[in-house]
């Protein structure tokens, strides 16, 4: 069962990468969430999968039975899921905040909206001239 799960994770990562490269931030955010899912499944798979028995010690016994699932990746993934939610919520707030500030959810627009402020916030210095020029070239 590990081979198909690995291939599935590959598809998940590819989809996440495709979304991360999008120009609008909501899609980038969805890419993040997919990447988080892929990471969780990777940790889960790396601890080896196959059994259906949960890692619960039977009543009266002292240790897990041999066919129980590996408990360690489960503990890691469990907290990672909740943290992942926190990350997604935080990223969502950043998107909202950016939209409120710039009126756009496109990274390039925000960059452009920032540009006119630059001379005011920073003292004019030689590298100021070169960076925007390189940005346009990029």
């Amino acid at each position: 069962m590990e081979t198909p799960l690995a291939l599935t994770i590959g598809v998940l990562v590819a989809a996440a990468a495709y979304l991360l490269l999008a120009r609008d931030l909501p899609r980038v955010l969805l890419g993040f969430v997919l990447l988080g899912n892929a990471a969780n499944l990777t940790i889960f798979a790396a601890g080896r999968i196959g059994t259906m028995t949960p890692p619960l010690v039977e009543y009266g016994a002292l240790a897990l039975t041999a066919d129980a699932a590996n408990p360690l990746p489960q503990a890691l993934v469990l907290t990672a899921i909740v943290i992942g939610f926190g990350l997604a919520a935080f990223a969502l707030v950043l998107v909202m905040r950016a939209h409120a500030e710039f009126g756009s959810v496109h990274a390039e627009d925000m960059d452009a909206a920032e540009a006119p402020d630059e001379p005011a916030t920073q003292a004019p210095s030689p590298p100021e001239d070169s960076i925007p020029a390189r940005r346009e070239a990029a």
Partner: protein, 767 residues
């Protein structure tokens, strides 16, 4: 707390307490309070000096093998007395010198902190404490040099001093750590006791070189000497205190401290001797190019530091006594001369040596102090300087290798010293008196006290050198040697060849004084010295670093988010791919059996693809939910009910808020990439996905080590009283991790609340 702990800690605590008190005082009161504190500390050390070493341990981190404490032996006592004694006079002087300056309070606070840092450095008995206080001296020096912070020159000088001594400090830290590892202890006494182990360690030579580098930068040895004259941008009291008497001697102190360990090493001796001699000669020549009194004094200080370094490089039996004597002599006369230079600047309005002369009549007390100090500097009997010079010559003559060269070098350096001493006394206070910007007269007693006391002490100590020697200097030399010294100080050694050398030195020096203006102009005309000096190299290096940083920033920080992510993804994808292919690591796990649970995999894959190519936001969010629920089913069917439950709940919440929030944003949810961009991105995505899948397959094909999971499975009930192993791991075995994770969650929640304050409203209006 026992007596030794208290007594060694007291001056440090007193200094800090005084700094805090002074910070609340008006400028006029600051300097007297500071001077009184330094005087109390001086009295304390006076009571301790000359006795047996006192030591006290304060802190220890046994798990790191680190322990720390303070120790006052002969060497530390000598330094502590110089620091507090000269500190008292300098603080007194500063109050009068900077009278009416509103920043005086700040200066006194900084000087007190600096004094504490110096005392901590010289009384530290472990390399960690030593290093911390050492760095604190560099930091306070930065602020003191930049006292006139509105002047570009002062800021540049402060930064230069900080970069050079701070860079040397980093080298020192590395060196000290290597030494401590080799010795198996951080204690200085322990390191000296473990001398063989330190020298036998494979990294012995790099460790020694790093320690030397730290000392050389601090003590302004060639090629790092240029920062010291530039640091003369500081107010004169600061220059007198930091840059002649104390801080620059810290490097010498360090070399002396490590002398018992390295003193017999040929590399150590060679490096110290020849670098010291070169430094002394270079600085002696450069001193003649200057007309600014302070810069002249700064270069002669570098000369003295070079001489000291050279002495420490000679076989310690001979040179230890010479080094501590010359160090004391120099601290006394140089601080006195700096303070007189400050008086001249203060009273006449100029520090240009070529514009001053004949001041004896209007400033008799200043003249007397300057002449006394200069005579000591010139090394004339019966001053302590004479004793110092004689013993330096003795050590040089007795050097093992290259004695002729060393004596010649010492002779040239001493001759230059005599000439400069003549310049500072005879040329300035005698002869014709040119007009000065201000009408000069003797300064108030607070300013005169310093030079007069120091110069007089130089005379008195010279008359009875054995008193000073037996009480203080023998102990200091013993710290360097590891046993009591065999040479003793005396004013009169009889008619020896060394006396003849001294006479020639003085005569030639006096001749140089006569021809000083011509010599000075000739050397100033030589531009080559400006163009090829290490100071120029420093400027080039600094400019190069800035240019390199600018170029790197422009290249890496191009500002395109897509560009950043693409680069990240490609590096992350190609790294594992290259390794897998190059090392033939690609492998396939051997379990091609499929069962119905694989349907959930299909659900995840379909959901992922659908999310990626969905046209609208809502469709994408729904597809994302499919992925999440698919993952939850995977967890459930593979024996992870806890994880499955968590995933289900989180997925529901996530889909709800994503749908609500994203649909409220007044934008159409279409992907705005061009077809071309999309196909390019798809290629990157496929490369990334394949890389991860191949890597994961290789991981899964490797044999699995179940020990960790088994351990938790076996210890959960006996150790954690819980049958749900996952929960026991979370709340018991790895509870600290979990605590950190919930702290992160709480912080994220606070961040969300803070970021959305005031944003949610305009957003809704737009809706």
């Amino acid at each position: 707390m026992h007596a030794p702990e208290l007594i060694l800690l007291l001056p440090l605590l007193l200094g800090i307490a005084a700094a805090i008190v002074v910070a609340c005082l008006r400028p006029a009161q600051a300097a007297p309070v500071g001077a009184a504190t330094a005087a109390v500390c001086f009295a304390l050390y006076l009571g301790l000096a000359g006795g047996a070493p006192v030591s006290a341990a304060f802190w220890a981190v046994p798990s790191l093998g680190v322990s720390g404490g303070l120790r006052l032996d002969g060497l530390a006592a000598l330094f502590a007395l110089l620091i507090t004694g000269i500190g008292t006079l300098v603080l007194l002087y500063a109050g009068s010198y900077l009278k009416g300056d509103p920043r005086l309070t700040r200066l006194v606070v900084l000087l007190l902190v600096f004094m504490v840092a110096m005392l901590g450095s010289v009384t530290a008995n472990d390399v960690i404490t030593l290093f911390i206080f050492w760095e604190l001296t560099s930091l306070t020096s930065f602020f003191l040099v930049a006292y006139d912070h509105e002047k570009l020159e002062a800021r540049k000088a402060a930064l230069q001093a900080l970069l050079i001594t701070g860079g040397g400090g980093l080298a020192l830290l590395a060196g000290l750590i290597l030494v401590a590892i080799a010795a198996g202890t951080t204690s200085l006494t322990g390191i000296i006791a473990a001398r063989e182990a330190v020298l036998a360690h494979p990294a012995a030579v790099p460790a020694m070189l790093l320690v030397i580098l730290g000392a050389f930068t601090k003590s302004a040895q060639f090629p790092f000497h240029f920062w010291l004259p530039n640091a003369m941008a500081a107010p004169t009291p600061v220059s007198a205190y930091l840059h002649s008497a104390t801080m620059v001697k810290l490097g010498i102190y360090l070399l002396a401290r490590f002398s018992p360990v390295y003193g017999d090493e040929a590399l150590w001796q060679g490096l110290l001797t020849w670098t010291g001699l070169l430094t002394a000669l270079v600085a002696a020549v450069l001193a003649f190019r200057e007309t600014d009194l302070k810069r002249v004094l700064a270069y002669t200080t570098v000369t003295a530091l070079g001489t000291l370094t050279m002495l420490l490089g000679l076989a310690p039996e001979l040179s230890a006594m010479a080094a501590v004597t010359f160090l004391t002599v120099h601290a006394l006369y140089k601080a006195a001369l700096f303070l007189t230079a400050g008086i001249l600047d203060h009273e006449t309005g100029t520090r240009d040596a070529s514009a001053l002369g004949g001041l004896r009549g209007v400033m008799p007390w200043t003249a007397a102090a300057a002449v006394l100090a200069a005579l000591s500097m010139a090394g004339l009997p019966p001053f302590l300087g004479f004793v110092g010079k004689e013993i330096v010559y003795e050590a040089a003559v007795a050097a093992d290798g290259g004695a002729g060269l060393i004596v010649l070098g010492a002779f040239l350096v001493n001759t230059a010293g005599v000439a400069i001493a003549g310049l500072l006394s005879w040329r300035i206070f005698f002869g014709a008196r040119p007009a000065t910007p201000k009408a000069p007269h003797d300064p108030p007693i607070a300013m005169l006290a310093g030079p007069v006391v120091l110069a007089t002490f130089g005379l008195l100590a010279g008359l009875a050198p054995s008193l000073l020697g037996g009480w203080l200097l023998d102990g200091a030399a013993a710290s360097i040697l590891g046993h009591p010294p065999t040479t003793y100080l005396a004013l009169w050694h009889g008619f020896t060849p060394i006396l003849a050398l001294s006479v020639v030195t003085v005569l030639l020096g006096a001749l140089l004084t006569l021809f000083w203006p011509r010599l000075m102009r000739g050397l100033q005309a030589s531009r080559a010295l400006d163009r090829f000096g290490p100071g120029h190299g420093y400027d080039r290096a600094l400019a190069g670093i800035v240019a390199c940083a600018e170029a790197t920033t422009a290249m890496v920080q191009h500002g395109s988010l897509r560009g950043y992510i693409r680069l990240l993804l490609l590096v992350a994808a190609l790294g594992p791919l290259v390794v897998l292919i190059a090392y033939d690591g690609a492998a396939w796990p051997a379990d091609p059996v499929l069962d119905p649970r694989a349907l959930a995999f299909g659900m995840i894959a379909a959901g992922a693809v659908a999310t990626a190519i969905a046209r609208g936001t809502l469709a994408a969010v729904m597809a994302l939910g499919l992925v999440g629920f698919g993952a939850a089913i995977v967890f459930l069917t593979f024996g992870a009910p806890d994880v499955a439950l968590t995933q289900f709940t989180v997925e529901v919440l996530l889909v709800v808020i994503l749908a609500t929030v994203l649909l409220r944003l007044p934008v159409h949810g279409r992907d705005t990439r061009t077809t071309r961009q999309r196909s390019g991105d798809a290629v990157v995505a496929v490369v990334m996905g394949s890389s991860v899948a191949l890597l994961l397959l290789a991981v899964l094909a490797a044999p699995f080590d179940p020990r960790l999971g088994d351990w938790f499975g076996q210890n959960s009930v006996p150790g954690g009283h819980g049958q749900n192993v996952v929960n026991v791991i979370l709340v018991d075995f790895r509870a600290l991790d979990t605590l950190g994770e919930i702290a992160v969650l709480a912080i994220a929640a606070f961040a969300v609340i803070a970021l959305l304050r005031g944003v949610a409203r305009p957003l809704r209006r737009g809706n």
